[in-house]
């Protein structure tokens, strides 16, 4: 072992060396404080809209909640009172139609991308197309269904209909369902599939009995969120499902939905209609928040 030479910090002159003590007036510490302050202000601004929107929806809409709201039709122009019963049923119906289309198609497409495709051009095209479709503005989905379903009157000569609205919403849901299915299935460990093949299960059995159930949680979470999203969509419904002041006649007739009701009634210069817009907002927001909490709850189940 060599003798340790006397310790010389010959190079320290080239560096700033300060005492170890914390100096709050140092530029870097002041800058730190400044940025922390800015970030906290930004975070406060970011949560402010939610607080304010929820506050007003609860205040303005919550006080109008009554039995009549759920059981009555909207009032005629100039009249008081009334309810949004038809719009609530309409939203449920249109969202149901959309789910019945988008969930099977989306889950099937997701299974194909994750389990059956081996990265060929077709799978690449589908997953690229899926990302593109996810970015298509919702109003364009409305234009598409207007052009293909409404103006062509494919459904028994009917133009505007609940069905058309449901299809438009399904177009919006589809990319989300495919993506969550695909990503959920990708999370399933490969060993699980091998295990199933190892005992001689066919691919179909493996997918249906092993892979898909293992990915249930992320898929269910994503699907619930997609449904909640669709229930609040307005743009694709304005000229597909249109609106109706009456109780729904069937899936091939125009139908009222809460979101379109809010839009129509918000811009009317009548107090009663404005109030119903707030009440519908309250009901819609509560439904959507409940769905979000449900999704969170599903997601948490497996984390235990």
């Amino acid at each position: 072992m060599a003798n340790p030479s006397p310790i010389t910090y010959d190079n320290t002159a080239l560096f700033d060396r300060r005492p170890l003590r914390y100096d709050p007036w140092l530029t870097r510490n002041l800058r730190n404080l400044l940025f922390t302050g800015i970030a906290s202000i930004f975070a406060a601004i970011a949560v402010l809209p939610l607080v304010l929107v929820l506050f007003y929806v609860l205040m303005q809409g919550g006080r109008l909640i009554s039995v009549g709201l759920f059981t009555q039709l909207p009032p005629d122009i100039g009249m008081e009172g009334g309810g949004i019963g038809n719009a609530i049923i309409g939203t449920l119906l249109v969202t149901l139609i959309a789910s019945l289309i988008a969930i099977p198609v989306g889950v099937g497409g997701g299974i194909f991308l994750s389990e059956y495709s081996s990265g060929g051009w077709f799978a690449n095209f589908v997953s690229f197309g899926n990302d593109v479709l996810a970015g298509v503005p919702s109003i364009i989905a409305g234009v598409f269904v207007y052009g293909t379903v409404v103006t062509t009157r494919v459904f028994f000569g009917q133009s505007y209909s609940a069905m058309a609205g449901g299809i438009a919403l399904a177009v919006l849901m589809l990319p989300t369902v495919i993506k969550t299915t695909y990503e959920g299935l990708k999370l399933v460990p490969q060993e699980l599939r091998w295990g199933a093949y190892g005992v001689g299960a066919s691919k179909f059995v493996t997918v249906m009995r092993i892979t898909l159930p293992s990915a249930f949680t992320p898929i269910a979470t994503g699907v619930v969120l997609a449904i909640a999203r669709a229930a609040g969509e307005t743009a694709p419904l304005i000229f597909t499902a249109l609106f109706s002041s009456f109780w729904p006649d069937g899936v091939f007739d125009p139908i009222a939905t809460m979101s379109v009701l809010i839009f129509n009634f918000a811009i009317m210069p009548y107090q009663a209609q404005n109030e119903l817009a707030w009440a519908a907002s309250f009901v819609l927001v509560m439904m959507i928040l409940a769905a979000n909490l449900l999704a969170r709850w599903i997601a948490r189940m497996t984390k235990v």
Partner: protein, 274 residues
Amino acid sequence: MTSSSHSSQSADSSKGDACMSLQNVTISYGKFEAVKNVFMDIPRGRVTAFIGPSGCGKSTVLRGLNRMNDLIPGCKLKGRVVFDGHDLYDPKVDPVEVRRRIGMVFQKPNPFPKSIYENIAFGARINGFKGDMDELVERSLRKAAVWDECKDKLRESGFALSGGQQQRLCIARAIATEPEVILMDEPCSALDPISTLKIEETMHELKRSYTIIIVTHNMQQAVRVADQTAFFNAEAVEGGTGKVGYLVEFNDTERIFNAPGQQATQDYVSGRFG
């Protein structure tokens, strides 16, 4: 013979050439005490090695020496770590200042998402380096035995290097800021034997001006580079949630490997551990 060969643990602290002094240090993650009651005086201008079985808290203690544990939520240190006359855990102490004077090389290579040149210059610049940056970069890379591999791609990303090269880049980065103490957590675990030897040469070089503390699982490496060696061990305690680490023995490397004071040390260094 070196002047310290006769010194024992207590003699070291009385001599007062200790660079860092740990006084009854206990580090816990949340409720779990990872290492307990460590006393040691780390001499200045020497290489000190920490050895011991996996999970006994070597990295934990090492991170405790430059307040790296501050970054881990829930990690608490009790006791005193004295450096340069200050308790590093005094609330008045600025952890940033501490890390500027006590540098660190990590177990996993972690180059910044910047060019190789910037990886080195970044640390130097924030430490207020006033000299010739090009020269510093070259000197640091040479000392870390990676200059030849890097000299033609200084402007390329640090990620464009192999794992071992990245690690040497990180060593160069730590050397470049010329801290008084360099902490190294298994710096050679991702390196081939040639690079490892180069790094060890660098350590011999560096200890003229710096104090080095190195965690290693490689006994030969500890023998080759370290003047002093600390052996840590872990044992289960009643009512505890896991194994609690503690310092078994801290002495001259020669003594630890040839005539350890404890049976556990003897077992470990002779590979009869288990």
